[in-house]
Amino acid sequence: MTNPLPYASSLAGKVAIVTGAGSGIGKAAAIELGRQGAKVGVLSRKADDVQATVDEIAQAGGEAMPLVADVTMQQQLEASVATVKQAWGRLDGLVVNAGANGQFAPVDDLTLEEWNRTLDTNLTSTFLTTRAAVPLMKQSGGSIVVISSVNGSRIFAYSGAAAYSTSKAAQVAFTKMVALELAKDKIRVNCVCPGAIDTAINGKTLRRNTDSIRWPVEFPKGHHMYDGEPGSADQVGELIAFLLSDASDHVSGTTVYIDAAESLL
């Protein structure tokens, strides 16, 4: 990333927590925030991944703290926020990114447990992370960015991903509800909807009997038409940093699609 910042970064001295910061978009966001001077709480379930992100931020001259926690566990999230409060005394930014594709399967094949797991991992975690962070953020205001998806808002053709898409759609509604609710506390809440991004998320998708339900669609070659390839996590990280900065201080309650217009096709 060598792009000059198109705004005066205001993240120096600010504190942010990024969930799912061990890989992909979360890691890229954590590194970008660190680069712009924020102190970053790096949260993920996996201690090794957390440490790798923390190390990368530190090597670039930034300040980061490891937070090993499961975003479906209220107590672990509250403990993480308490740790940040103790170390840095404030919280200005929150990136609600942790999530997974989960099990893709026909709707009459998907089990209740699989459905619940996807909604817990993507949606209830969004509630719990926000719930845990907001008391500290109310001290001085701040900005929350929720990472949703083009799935559930603009793309519905991934048959079998009903649980995933539903969880992602609900994150958009959650964003708008809490954007209004938290406005009086000077906390902005926005939502980023990435399209295909070059991360490891698809490698972790569980697929069962999805071939039979997928409506056949053939895209012309080069269907990632703008870049010629999927987006990078760094590109999403730059958007997240902008939404956390004061340059976006009148932006709240909006979704931003970051997919090079692919979801329009």
């Binding site: 680069r35 712009q36 000077k186 958007l239 309650g253 970051i258 090079a260 217009a261």
Partner: protein, 271 residues
């Protein structure tokens, strides 16, 4: 990643870039022209009003960059094509287009507003968006990439309660659809197209609004604590301009086909 500190980025994102801003004589357009100039862009300053063009040009030049005054009517295809020719002659290229010119027009009951008034509003806001895009795309295509930002509104996308503003809201909704159509069409030319939807912003747009027979037209919803939920007051043109600059910059190079509401969440209350 070879950069090692937060301060190693080149300081100005629009160094060497050329931008056209329509409606640059006041409000959001002027603020955007100045924000881009502050970040190093050469700015073509387009407005119908020669005095306002001159004032913005002076302000751009005071920031140490170049400005090109263009007095033109955005409903005139010939004017816009002349403007693009002037930009090409002066600077040889075009990177960024801000489609901002527009007006509220006449706000009146649907059986009161005349066909001429309707057409004036659609032409001023929506057809001008088409014409500006049409005139600038050939020059944008000559670059390796380009970006367009259209200034739409919360009206027509999230707010439908300004009863009487039907023509205005339809023109603004049309701009959002136009943005998505052209984002897809122009992707193959590496031209990104996005829209901002501002809420209440402190500008003089109301000066030229004609309100006629709207008494009792709007359902009397009351907001005892006001509607400016985030900041307690309307937004500033500069706040919108900063979002415009982000969307036009290379930092947004994977963002195309999206609208962004810039309203401090007001439209989630008002609707």
């Amino acid at each position: 990643m070879s950069e090692s500190t937060t301060v190693s980025r080149p300081p100005r994102a629009f160094e060497g870039k050329v931008a056209l801003v329509t409606g640059a004589g006041s409000g959001i357009g002027k603020a955007t022209a100045l924000e881009l100039a502050r970040q190093g862009a050469k700015v073509a300053v387009l407005s119908k009003n020669p005095d306002r063009v001159r004032a913005t040009v002076d302000a751009v030049e005071a920031l140490g960059t170049e400005a090109l005054p263009i007095v033109a009517d955005v409903t005139s295809q010939a004017d816009l094509e002349g403007a693009v020719a002037a930009i090409e002659q002066a600077w040889g290229k075009l990177d960024s287009v801000v489609i901002n010119a527009g007006a509220n027009g006449v706000w009146a009951p649907i059986d009161d507003i005349t066909l001429d008034e309707w057409q004036w509003t659609i032409r001023t806001n929506l057809t001008s968006t088409f014409l500006t895009t049409r005139a600038t795309v050939p020059l944008l295509k000559k670059n390796d990439k380009g970006a367009i930002v259209i200034v739409a509104s919360v009206n027509g996308s999230r707010i439908f309660s300004n009863t009487g503003a039907t023509a205005y809201s339809c023109s603004k909704a049309g701009q959002v659809a136009f943005m998505k159509m052209t984002a897809l069409e122009l992707a193959q030319f590496q031209i990104r197209v996005n829209a901002v939807c501002p809420g209440w912003i402190e500008t003089n747009i109301e000066e030229n609004t004609v309100h006629r027979n709207r008494e009792g037209l709007r359902l009397p919803v009351e907001f005892p604590q006001g509607v400016h939920v985030l900041e307690g007051h309307p937004g500033s043109p500069d706040q919108v301009a900063r979002v415009m600059a982000f969307l036009l910059s290379d930092a947004a190079d994977h963002i195309s086909g999206t609208e962004m509401w810039v309203d401090g969440a007001e439209s989630l209350l008002v609707g």
